[in-house]
């Protein structure tokens, strides 16, 4: 009954469901609308970009599922949550998918400058799986947060250096700002879910900002895909 009431009436969980649903739909639209473009070109940058949004969709699915389990089992702390078997499993997939989503998105911009080997991407998957498992085993979600910040900073610095190397022929555009904000709001989302619950108004503001960013990206995708 509590579950039904919470879903039907506007509250944190109800908002969470709507919010996650919108982002999952946006992400899947990005993924599927670029399918043909990728199939025809087999362009690696498009593949990384698509993979990022597929992982974002998976991440938000697990995020809303975690909130659902919080509600059903009346859990308030992530530590209590990791005591449940499927809680641990959900958390693991959530951590893995979210890190891969961030990685693929940022990598889609810088992959051209890397001398990528056949095993680079599988190796990243394995590394992320290990770090996600380690985070859960030692009950320290800050490890994962730290790892995502590391990925972001590494790629941001790398991109900055390659832009500098191009001697002004390439300039950071609107996209870099969108990705920066997407990452910042994602970090706030993670901190809210894994470390401490924020004030509901702040949660709504973070959600709205995240939805806005996903809609901007979707608009840019549809604008280009539509022209084909």
């Amino acid at each position: 009954m509590v579950v039904v009431e919470n879903v039907l009436f506007p509250n944190t969980f109800g908002m969470e469901l709507i919010y996650s649903f919108v982002i999952i739909v946006c992400s899947l639209l990005v993924y599927f609308s670029t399918k043909k473009m990728y199939e025809v070109s087999k362009y690696p940058g498009i593949r990384y970009f698509r993979m990022s949004f597929l992982f974002f969709a998976i991440t938000y699915f697990f995020k809303s599922f975690i909130s659902f389990l919080f509600l059903v089992f009346d859990i308030h702390e992530i530590i209590e949550f990791s005591a449940l078997f499927f809680g641990v499993l959900t958390l693991f997939f959530f951590m893995y998918a979210s890190t891969m989503a961030i990685f693929y998105l940022l990598y889609s911009v810088v992959w051209k400058n890397f001398k990528e080997k056949k095993f680079t991407i599988p190796l990243i998957h394995i590394l992320v799986l290990i770090i996600s498992a380690w985070s859960i085993l030692v009950n320290e979600v800050r490890i994962l947060l730290g790892f995502q910040v590391f990925i972001f900073l590494f790629i941001a610095v790398y991109n900055y250096l390659s832009l500098k190397k191009s001697k002004g022929t390439k300039k950071p555009g609107q996209l870099h700002a969108i990705y920066l904000f997407l990452f910042l709001f994602w970090m706030l989302n993670l901190a809210d879910l894994l470390i401490s619950g924020f004030d509901p108004i702040l949660e709504i503001l973070i959600s709205m900002a995240s939805i806005g960013l996903f809609l901007i990206i979707l608009y840019k995708v549809v604008k280009n895909v539509g022209s084909s």
Partner: protein, 90 residues
């Protein structure tokens, strides 16, 4: 050379084949593509892998390079692909 240029070269090779009624011999294609033999071989391999072209052996005409349906689709969508790649800095 950047990947964007790579897409452009792929487009140019496919365009040459298309404008030659969809099939062409290797030597004139190499000449018209304005690439060195080594780079042409790399692009040919990539286009074959991506199934954008096909290589066939004909008794009368010898080895021929054909543009596939996928290759035609690539030409149709080329502008959109390039715009998309530029928009997201891919």
């Amino acid at each position: 050379m950047g990947k964007r240029d790579k897409l452009e070269i792929m487009r140019d090779i496919l365009k040459v084949i298309k404008e030659n009624h969809g099939h062409i011999k290797m030597t004139p294609l190499l000449r018209k593509s304005n690439l060195s033999s080594k780079r042409f071989a790399d692009y040919k391999e990539e286009l074959l892998q991506k199934e954008l072209i096909q290589e066939i052996e004909e008794k009368k005409r010898g080895k021929q390079i054909l543009i596939t349906t996928k290759g035609m689709e690539f030409l149709e969508k080329y502008r959109a692909i390039v715009n998309f790649v530029n928009e997201f800095d891919l």
